[in-house]
């Protein structure tokens, strides 16, 4: 047949940007090509061919008639968003073809404020996902909970996959969260897999959901240089309400004895003011991206430098970051290689956070400096009769705790992988994918405390009766995790049928090394008994997986997904090692049915049904399915005769431990109206975890431990998620969008022990400070996880709590542990996110807010400081405390007064996470230099009834929490 050459360019219908990588298919054949980086294509075709099909990710496929030698095409971005290809495990699907509960957020959806850890980009943006920063400390990560978490004693953290590397959640000194090393500026998108039908492909590690992070890649077009700089100032939003110097003086004078009154000084020190500071952060990022080698070699290189000071004095972090991505393709796109490397070096100085509590407690009538040279001039409580000269167990000077403590940790971490994707020449429907990755980290650090510091003063007496103090200690650890994954994928359209099958294998090795060091005083004296029994430990576990997934769609209306994964973990005995995790999902694109096809108002309607089982083995010990003997340390030896022996201790073990399994049921509806100007989804889910990895009591005499994690118990979470995105106004000059999400989640423990014994209250958890051995929470059947377990306070006629008077709930005339009851829980039942952006010409503004309802907090600051025995302390000192004492007049000191429900406070809140205004100056120079300026405030306000500093605290126990700052920021973004 005759053949002719057709050429043309492909561009975006709206922006007129030339599109690179568009597939141009000769209709009815398998002949195809792609556009180059200038959007140009060139193709030889037979005369008989009348049309070409143009398809590109994020755009509607378009068929164009061949009318001449040149066919130029303008592709239209698909309704509402461009990001309609969603990365899922081992592949990607179009958003409209999703069968599971999956949310994807790309950079335009992110919170438009400078954040230093990536997960904060999406805080409050996703229904069913709670992201709570762990504290205000620099570099501290966040606690992420997807649909409430599935476990009790095993991990509740989701699996995080960065560019195909699944990270372990194990902490390394100095890197609290696996995401904290990633530069937020490099992130292209987050995909959150919430239900099992979506996450089961990750099988064993997916019980708590999966977060897939994709970083930016080189994009077609001319090279782009982006420079981004942020400058912020952080401040503590408020101080904890403690007695002022005047109130304190008054309190001591009216309640104290002569000796206690005499202890007061003449100063008036606001210790909280002394330990906090306004802190400056700068964050600078530079990236270069583009495509080289004639459109065959997309690349992106980025560097970042972050310097963050904490609001607690002395805390700071410096992060240097290098990111690199290369994704070339060869052999007519049959072979694609994707290389990623991210390296971060963080240097963190950790403040002695004991100062936060000390600042609450330290006597406000004392000065900061004593005027003498002792203890570097800091005022401390003294006792001439003691060997150190210090009053034993007294509160230490908060500022001295900070200034005389230098804990510096440096972590070098690299995550990288190379992914090879090959589409077979003889069978283009089949492709093979090999992914090899690593996650390496090396952390090293030390704690230096001067021997003149009161903390650790004269703490060691050597055999010659010479005292040594301070610290000069080291710590270090490594992590060497590796992954190898291989899968085959077959995709074929046959008439109305579309089949997409994936089968793969994965090998995941988790190795860490921890060095153990002896305790060394400031002058370098090694405390001999502290020399560790083992210089190094090297825990290791391994996972092996086989997995498969089949996607089938019929007439593009009925979609079916089935996955099966089987995982083996070295953490279980050989008989229990392998777990099988199946899932299935159905989706029905109702909108595509003839009876709705013409409904103009309704632009999308899809029903999703999913079921699946996921597994869990995180958070349990690596080897203890058999008992291992371990020698005790040198300061835990026992003397027999004249010799001291290290003791060989048999460890507790649980042979029959197996995979924890969570069954997930999900029903969801995706909807869209008015060309998706109104769109969203509703999901209803039920998750039930059985064989719960749960620390249970062992029958005495049957094990070398009295508690061990076994597979006993069940727990369920049920909930509803609602997501709504509205674009109320969209004109040439104005665009306004509103995003709202709401989640209801209810958690309940349904089984906890081998036999249900009504007299067994449950397992205590949630240790509190103030009195030794006290717990405030309990895991018990029929109640939410970590419910508070307290006495029911009796109030007087004025509504004030009457100290130590509690309701005798079992009516036996005695107030004891049997009268404790379960009251509220730290998890919210409802949580909401609301954000909105308005763009008017070059000006844009927006906010993002979050609210939690039904979460309660134990105010441990009030319970541990707001009572008389703390203030007029029997140790022979006086302490400050929570102003609550003026209201309650609690004397304290008994073993029960702190365990009252009076201290359980409603901590529902509405937090304005961030507000911003940005102005885009457009092209600064003739054709280039996009400049954008941004002003913003984070954590602008919190509305809550909670009386402590912050209603959002980990585990619902508020104690010495590093406060979250309010942050004022200014940013500049420049594109060349």
């Amino acid at each position: 047949a005759q053949s002719r050459i057709i050429s043309g360019t492909v561009s975006d219908a709206k922006t007129h940007q030339l599109l690179f990588g568009v597939t141009v298919l000769v209709s009815g054949t398998s002949t195809a090509t792609q556009t180059d980086d200038k959007g140009h294509y060139r193709l030889a075709i037979a005369d008989s061919v009348k049309t070409l099909e143009f398809s590109f990710i994020g755009y509607a496929t378009q068929t164009a008639a061949i009318t001449g030698e040149v066919v130029d095409v303008q592709l239209v971005a698909e309704a509402a968003n461009l990001d309609n290809v969603v990365v899922i495990g081992y592949g990607a699907v179009k958003k409209k073809d999703l069968t599971g509960s999956v949310t994807m957020l790309s950079s335009k959806d992110f919170n438009q404020v400078p954040v230093t850890t990536p997960e904060q980009l999406i805080a409050g943006k996703v229904a069913g996902v709670q992201i709570m920063s762990n504290s205000g400390a620099p570099g501290s990560g966040s606690t992420i909970r997807i649909r409430g978490g599935a476990s009790l004693n095993a991990s509740n953290d989701p699996l995080i996959v960065i560019d195909g590397v699944a990270l372990s959640n194990d902490a390394l000194p100095g890197s609290p969260n696996p995401l904290s090393m990633i530069n937020p500026a490099d992130i292209e998108s987050f995909t959150i897999l919430k239900d099992a039908s979506a996450s089961a492909i990750y099988g064993s590690r997916a019980s708590n959901g999966v977060i897939i992070v994709t970083t930016k890649k080189g994009k077609p077009g001319k090279p782009v240089i982006n420079f981004n700089t942020q400058f912020t100032v952080s401040q503590i939003p408020k101080y904890l309400d403690v007695l002022s110097p005047a109130e304190f003086r008054n309190y001591v004078q009216s309640n104290g004895d002569a000796a206690q009154i005499a202890l007061m000084g003449n100063a008036g020190t606001n210790w909280q003011k002394e330990v906090y500071q306004a802190a400056v952060t700068t964050d600078n990022n530079l990236s270069l991206s583009g495509v080289a080698a004639n459109g065959r070699l997309p690349y992106r290189v980025s560097v970042g430098y972050l310097k963050q000071n904490g609001i607690v004095k002395t805390s700071e972090m410096e992060r240097k970051y290098f990111g690199f991505n290369l994704s070339p393709s060869f052999l007519d796109d049959h072979l694609k290689i994707d290389v990623n490397l991210k390296v971060a070096h963080t240097d963190t100085r950790f403040a002695n956070t004991g100062a936060i509590g000390a600042a609450v407690s330290f006597d406000p009538t004392q000065p900061i400096y004593s005027g003498s040279n002792r203890f570097d001039g800091y005022y401390e409580w003294l006792d001439p009769a003691s060997v150190s000269g210090l009053k034993s167990l007294a509160t230490l000077n908060p500022l001295a705790l900070l200034m005389q403590y230098n804990n510096r940790g440096r972590v070098l971490r690299g995550i990288g992988n190379i992914q090879v994707d090959y589409k077979f020449h003889f069978l283009p429907e089949l492709k093979a994918n090999l992914n090899m990755g690593f996650d390496e980290a090396h952390g090293i650090g030390g704690i230096l405390v001067d021997d003149s510091a009161a903390q650790g003063y004269n703490r060691y007496k050597d055999p010659n009766n010479v005292f040594h103090g301070g610290q000069n200690n080291k710590y270090s650890g490594w992590r060497d995790n590796g992954i190898i994954e291989f899968y085959l994928n077959y995709l074929k359209n046959i008439g109305d049928h579309r089949i997409d099958v994936t089968a793969g294998y994965g090998f995941y090795d988790f190795i860490s090394r921890t060095m153990n060091y002896p305790d060394v005083t400031y002058d370098g004296t090694v405390i001999p008994e502290s020399v560790p029994a083992y210089a190094m430990d090297k825990p290791r576990y391994t996972l092996i997986s086989y997995y498969g997934r089949a996607n089938y769609s019929f007439k593009n209306k009925y979609l079916l997904t089935a996955t099966l994964r089987t995982d083996g973990s070295s953490k279980f005995n050989p008989d229990n090692r392998w777990g099988v995790f199946p899932s299935g999902a159905l989706a029905w694109k109702i909108k595509e049915e003839p009876f709705l096809k013409s409904a103009a108002v309704l632009s999308d309607l899809k029903l999703r049904l999913g079921y699946g089982i996921t597994g869990q083995q995180d958070g349990i010990n690596d080897y203890d399915y058999i008992s291992y003997f371990k020698l005790s340390g040198n300061n835990a030896q026992y003397q027999l005769g004249n010799d001291f022996y290290q003791m060989y201790r048999p460890g507790g073990y649980y042979y029959n431990r197996k995979w924890e399994q969570t069954s997930n049921y999900n029903i969801g509806i995706d909807y869209g109206f008015l060309n998706n100007r109104i769109n969203g989804s509703i999901d209803v889910y039920y998750r039930s975890t059985k064989d719960l990895l749960n620390e249970i009591n062992q029958p005495a005499g049957t094990n070398f431990t009295n508690k061990i994690v076994a597979n006993i118990g069940s727990m369920e979470n049920r909930g509803i998620e609602f997501l709504l995105t509205v674009v109320p106004v969209q004109t040439k000059n104005v665009k306004w969008d509103v995003n709202f999400n709401a989640t209801y989640n209810k958690n309940k423990i349904t089984k906890l022990t081998i036999v249900d014994d009504p007299n067994f209250a449950g397992s205590l958890t949630g240790g509190i400070t103030g009195a030794t051995g006290n717990y405030i929470q309990i895991q018990s059947i029929g109640f939410p996880r970590s419910s508070f377990y307290v006495y029911q306070q009796v109030y007087d006629q004025q509504g004030k709590p009457v100290e130590n008077v509690f309701v005798d709930r079992n009516g036996d005339g005695v107030i004891n542990e049997s009268d404790l009851y379960r009251y509220k829980s730290p998890d919210p039942q409802y949580f909401f996110g609301l954000s909105s952006n308005v763009t008017y010409k070059k000006l844009s503004a927006g906010f993002s807010a979050r609210a939690n309802v039904g979460n309660y907090v134990y105010n441990n600051v009030a319970s541990a400081t707001g009572f008389q025995v703390n203030i007029l302390n029997p140790l022979g000192i006086i302490n400050n405390g929570s102003s609550d004492v003026l209201y309650t007049n609690f004397k304290g000191g008994s073993d029960k007064f702190a365990l009252t429900d009076y201290f359980i406070e409603n901590a529902s809140f509405l937090r304005m996470d961030n507000v911003y205004v940005a102005y885009s100056f457009g092209k600064l120079f003739r054709n280039t230099g996009d400049l954008k300026l941004n002003l913003n405030v984070q954590n602008l306000f919190v509305i809550t009834k909670y009386k402590g500093l912050d209603p959002e605290v980990p585990n619902g126990i508020d104690n010495n929490f590093y406060p979250r700052p309010r942050i004022y920021g200014m940013g500049l973004n420049l594109n060349f």
Binding site: D537, Y638, T705, G773, P874
Partner: protein, 506 residues
């Protein structure tokens, strides 16, 4: 096979028990479970979970259960459940009782494991022979003794614990069952009778290891309380076995005030078996570290107690003070009270300055005023589980209660030996009554972990027959239910082991 991962440092039982050294280190754990709270000093790798590690050692828990519940001690702290002891309103969820129960059962479990691995055929199979094997066999017998001791603790405090021996197959789904107080009593007795022939002669074993005298001393204590445990008294045997200890060559040390000192390992003439501590090498927050720190507060100078600072916790009630006609110590050196800044009466147990302090325990070397032990934070002092003085008191009480094989004249001599050492006036034969013995036990043995058992034996623990300040939670004291003479089986174990029966009324 790639899924077979092994720890770097830890070893399996087969490896641990492959060498004589491994056996001795495992035996050190069976003993060390008394003294330490875990594998790391002072804390950080605990044996017993669910309780604050610092309070999870044997002696501190045993002390709280035996002393805080009595006239001898009150505590100012608010540790969960600690005030329940003196107020006598403990429940089956009390964390101290749970901790003590699990600690005792833990040592039994360790002993069972050791006994099994140290069986003769096991040693032979590993080629361990001769003196090395003999030493391990001795450790095996000592492990049986420690197990019998812990079963006595459980019998005395909890009545009817689950019963496991080395025959129990660990890791099986079988659950330990209770055998009842009588059967447990008979088991302890038969074990001790057997060990009487197996353990080294009295004073022939290494310091800190059990010998025949320890066996006799425990038998004497068991027989003295037989009526409480089984309903049938056995004072004859109490006389016989206390006499065996007394005749074994022990003698009282000269100065009562040197008993509880940093270097009291010098008191070998009086101590029959000790729990050993060392300020550097055997660190934890219980044991004698607790006994030297917790009583110090108020105006008591820490340096005089050989510590860095006191914990301002435990004091005594006037009931103990009143046992001494003269509390100055001039006429009875056993009176060691701190009165400066302290009131005799107690309005509020949580105030350290109410109730006299006790200065009996000092981390100071014998013969010095303030030469402290190796560390200011952790005591060097060893704790005598058995000492000769108790055997004198058992002999006298058993004779007075009608035990044959002894005589009142000898009993009087023994009691006056104790009084003479204390510098107290001797008593006459007519003064020697059982009630006098109870008071004398208070004077001689206070704060050494005997008081609850003694008051139960005298039927004074729960009854209105003897009241002390804040007994049962009221200022002047009140009687409580008789079923509180034994403690409850902890709810935690009842939930884990459905075989268990709770003690009555709990």
């Amino acid at each position: 096979k790639k899924l077979d991962r092994l720890p770097l440092n830890d070893v399996t039982a087969e490896q641990a028990y492959s060498t004589p050294q491994g056996y001795i280190e495992a035996a050190a754990k069976v003993y060390g479970a008394f003294a330490l709270t875990g594998n790391k000093g002072p804390a950080g790798d605990p044996d017993i979970l669910g309780i604050d590690e610092g309070t999870s050692d044997f002696l501190r828990l045993f002390w709280c259960a035996q002393e805080l519940s009595t006239d001898e001690s009150v505590v100012s702290w608010g540790d969960a459940g600690i005030q329940d002891f003196h107020n006598m309103n403990w429940s089956a969820s009390n964390p101290f009782l749970t901790g003590l129960y699990y600690r005792s059962m833990y040592q039994i479990t360790l002993a069972n494991d050791f006994i099994k691995h140290a069986a003769d055929d096991q040693l032979a199979a590993k080629g361990i022979t001769g003196a090395t094997a003999a030493n391990i066999v001795s450790f095996r017998n000592e492990a049986r003794f420690l197990r019998a001791y812990q079963y006595w603790v459980l019998l005395d405090l909890f009545g009817n614990p689950p019963f496991v021996t080395e025959d129990f197959v660990m890791g099986s789904t079988e659950l330990p069952e209770q055998i009842g107080k009588e059967a447990l009593y008979q088991y302890i007795e038969s074990e001790l009778k057997d060990l009487e022939t197996l353990l080294p002669d009295s004073r022939a074993n290494e310091y800190g290891r059990a010998d025949k005298a320890a066996v006799w001393a425990l038998l004497a204590r068991l027989y003295l309380n037989a009526g409480i445990y089984t309903g049938t008294a056995d004072y004859n045997n109490a006389v016989i076995y206390s006499k065996k200890v007394i005749d074994a060559g022990y003698s009282l040390i000269s100065d009562y005030r040197n008993l509880m000192r940093a270097d009291n390992d010098k008191n070998k003439s009086e101590f029959i078996l000790t729990i050993n501590y060392d300020g550097n090498k055997t660190q934890n927050y219980g044991g004698t570290t607790f006994l030297t720190h917790a009583p110090v507060g108020g105006t008591m100078p820490a340096a005089a107690f050989g510590i860095g600072g006191g914990w301002a916790g435990i004091r005594t009630t006037k009931a103990l003070v009143n046992l001494f006609p003269d509390i100055s110590g001039n006429t009875d050196k056993r009176a060691q009270f701190w009165t400066d800044g302290q009131s005799l009466n107690i309005d509020d147990q949580t105030k350290f300055v109410q109730g006299y302090g006790i200065t009996k325990f000092k981390n100071i070397e014998i013969g010095t005023a303030n030469k402290s032990g190796a560390s200011l934070d952790f005591a060097d002092m060893d704790f005598p589980v058995f000492r000769l003085a108790e055997q004198y008191l058992i002999y006298a009480e058993a004779v007075l209660r009608g035990g044959s094989g002894g005589d009142a004249a000898t009993a009087l001599i023994y009691i006056n030996l104790l009084r003479a050492r204390a510098g107290a006036a001797p008593i006459t034969a007519s003064q020697l009554t059982t009630d006098f013995i109870l008071d004398e036990r208070g004077r001689e043995l206070y704060w050494e972990g005997f008081r609850r058992t003694d008051l139960v034996r005298y039927n004074k623990f729960t009854t209105a027959g003897y009241l002390w300040p804040w007994k049962g939670g009221t200022t002047n004291g009140k009687s409580v239910e008789d079923w509180r003479n034994i403690y409850p089986i902890p709810a935690a174990d009842k939930a884990a082991n459905p075989q268990l029966q709770q003690n009555p009324n709990y």
